[in-house]
């Protein structure tokens, strides 16, 4: 078991190194001079050659590419993560300042998705093809099709009309004012959670239907266990593994989707920082944030894989 853990962790680390290489290569084939991106064409033309060389050197962009890559890895190891082209703060500051908001949105979205998806899935599976089931499945199909950021825009629009809602301009952390903080994160969390919840409901339904046909469920019923306990106590635990897996895979939707949803709600989270950096072509910020998003995705899926060993005693790892 410990050996398996170590192997999986090493595997994930290898994947992350591959991820960082791809990010690095992709962002260094950018056409155009980064200085032009930073200073604009006029500003660039006005500078002397020495200034250009000096600034490129300060930014660490004049070294050979392999050296730049090694420097980046070193920066990650030491937690410095380099500086934004346009702002004085380091990327680490940016992540520490804006990260918590995005993390809260992600975790809340996860909670919402399970709170909504699981009960709906159970109700659907208990009475398949009933009108309740049909409504639930139609809603699932609908919520999978609706783009989260558009739903967010509609909600903001409605709030604006009826309550004079304004997008949050500043970040309020949960430890500063929990209530204001909740107002910032709840919208994006619900929007992201509903779309995921639709997938979870689908998965929970189909897995439960499968499990309910098993012999041990019939045995439980035969010996007179109440239906409620049969479903929740005997069938559900055995149907949950694929639902957990799908929740891990769905994190990719949440991470990507949150970028657009944060923009829709005007929440100043990490996703918006990424969008701003992409538009400004702020390479250093983009490379670190993209790596961060990918790393979260990889690590969570590693944890999901590992949780199998813990949750399912049938699985033995060599």
């Amino acid at each position: 078991m410990r050996k398996y853990l170590a192997r999986r962790a090493l595997f994930a680390l290898g994947t992350l190194i591959g991820v960082s290489l791809i990010i690095f290569v992709v962002l260094r084939i950018l056409p155009g001079d980064p200085l032009v991106a930073i200073l604009g064409v006029e500003g660039h033309a006005r500078m002397t050659k020495e200034d250009r060389v000096r600034i490129m050197h300060d930014l660490g962009l004049s070294d050979p590419l392999p050296v730049q890559y090694v420097h980046w890895l070193r920066d990650i190891a030491t937690g410095k993560l380099g500086k934004s082209f346009f702002r004085g703060d380091t990327v680490a500051d940016l992540i520490l300042h804006r990260g918590p908001i995005s993390a809260e949105i992600g975790i809340l979205a996860l909670i919402v998705s399970w709170l909504v998806g699981l009960p709906v899935g159970i109700v659907s599976a208990v009475k398949p093809n009933s009108s309740l089931d049909n409504i639930a499945r139609s809603l699932a199909i609908l919520f999978i099709a609706i783009p989260g950021f558009w739903l967010g825009m509609l909600i903001v629009l409605a709030l604006l009309f009826w309550f004079g809602y304004k997008s949050p301009l500043i970040i309020v952390h949960v430890w500063q004012s929990p209530w204001q903080n909740l107002q910032i994160v709840i919208g994006p969390a619900i929007v992201l959670g509903l779309a995921q919840g639709a997938y979870i409901a689908r998965m929970a339904r189909s897995c439960l239907l499968e499990v309910i046909r098993e012999d041990y469920v019939r045995t439980a019923r035969a010996k007179g266990v109440v239906e409620r306990r049969v479903v929740l106590g005997h069938a559900l635990p055995n149907a949950l593994l694929p639902v957990i897996t799908i929740s891990g895979v769905l994190l990719g939707f949440v991470l990507g989707g949150s970028v657009a949803v944060e923009q829709a709600f005007g929440v100043p989270g990490l996703g918006r920082a990424l969008v701003t950096a992409v538009i400004e072509r702020d390479i250093i910020v983009v490379q670190n944030l993209v790596l961060l998003y990918a790393a979260i995705f990889v690590v969570v899926n590693l944890l999901v894989d590992l949780s199998y060993a813990w949750l399912d005693p049938r699985i033995h790892y060599a």
């Binding site: 499968e210 694929p242 990507g256 970028v259 923009q263 969008v275 990889v298 899926n301 199998y308």
Partner: protein
Amino acid sequence: MPGWIRASTMPEPAPVSATAERSVVRELIAFASRTPLSAVGAIVGLLIVAIALGANWVAPLDPLKTNFRRMNHEPDAQSLFGTDQVGRDTLSRVIHGARTSLFVAFAAVLLGTTVGSLWGVACGYLGGRFDLASQRIMEILQSFPDLILAMAISMAIGTGLPAVIVAIAITRIPFGGRVIRSVAITVREMAYVEAGRASGASAFRIMRLHVLPQCVAPYLVLASTHLGVAIVIEAALGFLGVGVPPPTPTWGNMLADSITGLVPRWWLVLFPGLAITITVLAFNLLGDGIRDTLDPRLSPGFLRLVTGSGRGAATATPTRAPSLQENRTGA
């Protein structure tokens, strides 16, 4: 549905003549009665494609023509969906937006799934080190959230129409690669492939004549189920300002424009988003139907287990794909 598709889903090629006699129309009717929602999806999808193709004739006005006497005008008889900040007709822009959005989505899915599938055939058939290395690359590609990978790529190669197509296509490659690889691995062990090998056919010839035809059904399933995702990614890129550059009307760009004003106008938010939702809904329903018809093995549970990112433990997990029967009742 022509007989050859049905034949290709079976492990051994069935005699084609038996099914080929049924006309295409009858097959379509059978498809519609089996999965009515998918048929609705197909009709709506075709309608949207037709509107997109005929945008020049369908749209009442020029989507780029500004009219400063009618800025931010509410929907009325003259412009059914209202006008935007510079007086362009929203209805015409939604219709022309369909053209760009669908073109990007179709091109990206075709490109990505084709490249991924060919790669997957090579991986599955050749195996060995090439397969191992390819699997690692696909795993790395799947470690990025789709939208974020597409953003980074389109930032690197520019924001024109081709760049957006390539960016979305790259996010689709690993899905094709993984599913088709598993098909190719099964086919590799078939007796007729072995016979081909024994008679001295080259690996390329076997892949082309024996493995590829078996991959047609899963390929169609993959392509149709990824259309909706591609449309959403395209719209999100446009919305974030890193998609197809304005003034080209795309649904994403229109949504991005709609919040630039001080007071967002509801019609500028509602209609492009509705267009996205209806289109994605139609293609998703159609895709589900195609999947259930062509290849029940590719039901959601199975697909997730095959395509899930970094699923090292998946092989050790009892596969719980929802059964065929259940897919039939679903939709």
